[in-house]
Symmetry: C2
Subunit: 173 residues, 2 copies
Amino acid sequence: MADINQMNKTSPRAQKSLYLRKQDLRRGIELMFFAYRDFTGEADDILSRLGLGRAHHRVIYFVGRQPNMTVSDLLSILKITKQSLSRVLSHLVAEGYIHQEQGARDKRQRLLSLTDKGLVLEEKLTDVQCKRFASAFSACGGDAVAGFQDVLANLINEDERADLRKRYPDLFE
Amino acid sequence: MADINQMNKTSPRAQKSLYLRKQDLRRGIELMFFAYRDFTGEADDILSRLGLGRAHHRVIYFVGRQPNMTVSDLLSILKITKQSLSRVLSHLVAEGYIHQEQGARDKRQRLLSLTDKGLVLEEKLTDVQCKRFASAFSACGGDAVAGFQDVLANLINEDERADLRKRYPDLFE
DNA sequence: TATTATTGGTCAACATGGCTGACATAAATC
DNA sequence: GATTTATGTCAGCCATGTTGACCAATAATA
């Protein structure tokens, strides 16, 4: 596989679908890199001014999305160790962004939710990211958005996709 | 903006395009998070067994894509500090993944290219990521791929997009 | 030619956010 | 009563970003 691009040009019979050529797959890799970087950039700036990082953002985002979730829930979404999460979560609780209360059914559980302060920050962060998406979506139209969602969903590991489908039924339409 | 979803349901006159509702924008955020994590996961595993990280991957990838690029070129693509790059790049040179030679036009420049060892690793890493894209693209079809590319391109900062268009004319079709 | 700007390297220090391992505790469950 | 589960905590390591300071070689220019 010295040069698949070359192959595609010189050997019509080996021609793949237009979107499965090596150059198209590489474009996917590159677009993901650049888009993800800019997608997170603005929020990172806001966070850094507050002494917070991207890890804090993830916690705030997912707790905001699903109030009263447990630490376990969060761990299985973020797929990091509890020690890593603990550091970030403790900080957010200490700074008053996150409120935790004992679970009723299982008293060991800490049910996590955003405080008012946390909610304000969550809205601010989600807002800048949503604006970016709104702008991109508007520029591309509904069919492109559907394709975007479809491809991203299929980039997710299959088992993880099944888990997510259960947890967030509306994530995949 | 207590609850835009609620608003969309209860106030038909405030209804936005189907793909610009808050829930759709949030879906974009979430899909990006999960897809990016899994997109990088396999490569990260390969790299960690070699004592390398994602930062090394980026260098290997972009040097592989554009041999004989300079350190400056790489810095403006990766958008990290030269000190950060230096650490990673020195390591890759020491480990024999990257070859550097003095620039002919400007003797200060180090022109970077992959060694045979570097090329082997680059192909292995690119291959696992390309396979993921090939699988996702196949599952979704060409229209979805076009939409995917279109949306990602529009998520990139406008000025950056212009720069990229000059550097990699084929990145945006 | 002398000065300035560019390209790049280096050293030191620090922060974030992953990781592992070990151990503690309370509550639920078998 | 014993075991499993949910969670916390402490200690340390590693990768990868940051800033600031400073140096050297080369290129461009006044």
